[in-house]
């Protein structure tokens, strides 16, 4: 068993690294309230006395202008960022997959209508749509998540539709018709399970960029609002101190970089494993 594991790890070293880093982040997100040294800081507690301290043993990532421990903020922030990203993807998948299935299987004018609407939403500059929605409903984490989901679902509609179209006349679907299955049953029992795999892979690769967009929105003041410890927001607060107190901006930025990289690496790995194509050689 050891040998096979070693073989796979060596073969896709990067994916394994990604997996470990991701595991660490997920763990911190879950255990954050218990392992954060100053959990109160994320709930509005302030200690103006020791503000803007450089990294030290009590404060591994230093403190912000209100004396809050950045290490705790980043830890609790992981729950907000990862959670926010995950919920966005789930929403986007729900809308996207449903519309994609209908468009793919129904065909005709319904397919045309759904796909043209998808083109329009895709034509809309996504960040602008997100910013506009977040601005109209008022800036908050939930609205940012909703806004991102609304500008992200079209990708999944297109992906699912193309899958369904190619599967619809696959032999095993025809065979199911021969076996007396009704179209609806075929859609759920045969087409959906086979169509969903590439979408799941795409979703796992998108999780990274969604977290990045959420951080961007918070940086603009349209995502999470104080005192919620979202990573982008911490950087936004810290931007006045970029050139004076380097640690304020560096650590939350590093957290985003590591989390999103890990997600991308795992997404890549999943992609390689699921559509196991033989690799050529040059």
């Amino acid at each position: 068993m050891g040998r096979t594991l070693r073989f796979y790890v060596r073969r896709n070293l990067m994916t394994s690294i990604g997996l470990c880093v991701l595991a660490v982040f997920v763990l911190t997100a879950i255990l954050a309230p218990w392992i954060a040294p100053y959990p109160g800081d994320a709930a509005g507690l302030v200690h103006p006395a020791h503000q803007l301290l450089p990294p030290s043993w009590q404060h591994p990532m230093g403190t912000d202008e209100l004396g809050r421990d950045l290490f705790s903020l980043v830890l609790l922030g992981s729950r907000v960022s990862l959670g926010g990203g995950f919920v966005t993807i789930v929403f986007a998948l729900l809308i996207g997959v449903t519309l994609g299935l209908i468009a793919g299987y129904a065909g005709g004018w319904l397919d045309e209508a759904i796909m043209r609407f998808t083109d329009i939403v895709l034509g809309f500059p996504s960040l602008l749509l997100a910013v506009a929605i977040a601005a109209t409903l008022g800036p908050s984490l939930d609205h940012a998540v909703l806004a991102m989901a609304l500008s992200w679902w079209p990708w999944y509609t297109r992906l699912i539709r193309s899958q369904v179209l190619s599967l619809r006349n696959a032999d095993f679907v025809q065979a199911a018709r021969l076996s007396g299955r009704s179209p609806a049953r075929i859609l759920v029992r045969h087409i959906l399970p086979n169509a969903v795999t590439p979408v799941v892979v795409q979703a796992s690769m998108d999780l990274g960029s969604v977290i990045l967009t959420l951080a961007g929105l918070s940086f603009l003041g349209l995502g999470a609002q104080p005192p919620t410890p979202e990573w982008g927001l911490i950087i936004a607060n810290g931007q006045n101190y970029v050139l004076t107190n380097w640690w304020y901006v560096t650590f939350p930025g590093l957290a985003i970089l590591l989390a999103v990289s890990a997600l991308n690496l795992v997404g890549d790995g999943l992609n390689d494993v699921l559509n196991r194509r033989e690799r050529g050689v040059l």
Binding site: R3, T4, F7, Y8, E278, R279, G280, V281
Partner: protein, 322 residues
């Protein structure tokens, strides 16, 4: 003296459980200007044997473990990647099976041919175009000049195979490895192409390693034949001798499995093909062979027989006369 002689060629694939043997070829020889039929079913290792000549394996995990591959006296197995590159195309041409996938869809069919002419025969510009047109005419392609700038999807399957043959013989190689060149074509088109291949071979004195699973084609096209099973040659000899008086049980059963009009039940070979890596010792075919005896499962038979017609079977005499 044989143009190509392959001895003890060992091809493996790296898997999670370590290297797995795919081909363990005892010996295979091809005389100059000779067309040898390499016949075998899926998984018999016939394609990999052909690819092993110039080490053009499809995936990085498949590699040549050992053995000698002498072409015109020089051992290709020992050559490094750089020197082997000079052999590919110039001395050994290749034709693949699938006409749809073997030509780059976004380039006019003439382009790769002219690049090869530039590379191997340093022909540039108009000279290369003229030579390309000549080659296209040589492989009987209609209005060759116009065809140079047409795209693969505008040609029929047969025409695309002809383009591939033109590319293979562009540098005037001594050996052509043809891996099931006509299998994907319709029967009527297949016949013409085989005739073309034969004419080209005779005209250029070029040897051809013709890889196929179709016994009918082999019966009428090649002078000598080698039957492969589980990664090794089990019988070889002049075509007529091997097909009319098979000395190896596998060859015999294979011939009887071909459906013919009015024949009752076919004599199907029991069980499924056993991969070489799962055979510890003895004859690879023992588990499915009606002639098998205990000694067959113990001793690994060598390729021997009276004169040129040889087989790897301890009971080949009985097989011949039953």
């Amino acid at each position: 003296m044989a143009l190509l002689s392959m001895r003890g060629v060992h091809v493996v694939v790296d898997t999670a459980e370590g290297p797995r043997t795919l081909v363990r070829l005892s010996e295979l020889e091809l005389a100059e200007g000779e067309m040898l039929g390499l016949v075998g079913e899926t998984g018999s290792g016939k394609t990999l044997t052909g690819l092993a000549v110039t080490r053009v394996f499809p995936t990085p995990s498949i590699r040549l473990q050992g053995g000698s591959i002498e072409l015109g006296g020089r051992d290709l197995a020992g050559l490094g990647e750089r020197e082997l590159l000079a052999v590919r195309g110039r001395e050994v041409g290749v034709v693949f099976q699938d006409p749809n996938a073997s030509l780059n869809p976004v380039f006019p069919v003439g382009r790769p041919l002219m690049d090869l002419l530039g590379l191997h025969r340093s022909l540039r510009g108009q000279a290369a175009v003229a030579e390309a047109v000549r080659l296209f005419q040589r492989v009987e392609l209609p209005d060759a000049a116009a065809l140079l700038s047409r795209y693969p999807h505008e040609l029929s399957g047969g025409q695309r195979q002809r383009v591939m043959i033109a590319m293979a013989i562009a540098a005037g190689p001594k050996l052509l490895v043809a891996d099931e060149p006509t299998t994907a074509l319709d029967v009527t088109v297949q016949a013409e192409l085989l005739r073309l291949l034969d004419d080209l071979r005779r005209e250029a004195g070029m040897s051809v390693l013709f890889i196929t699973h179709n016994l009918g084609v082999v019966a009428h096209m090649v002078e000598r034949v080698a039957i492969m099973y589980a990664g090794d040659v089990v019988e070889t000899g002049p075509t007529r001798a091997v097909l009319k008086e098979p000395r190896h049980p596998y060859t015999r059963l294979l011939l009887e499995a071909v459906p013919r009009q009015g024949q009752g039940r076919l004599k199907a070979i029991a069980g499924t093909a056993v991969p070489r890596s799962e055979i510890a010792q003895g004859c690879a075919f023992a588990s499915r062979c009606p002639f098998a005896q205990d000694r067959c499962r113990a001793i690994e038979p060598a390729l021997e027989g009276p004169g040129v017609h040889r087989a790897a079977c301890l009971r080949q005499e009985e097989v011949l006369h039953v």
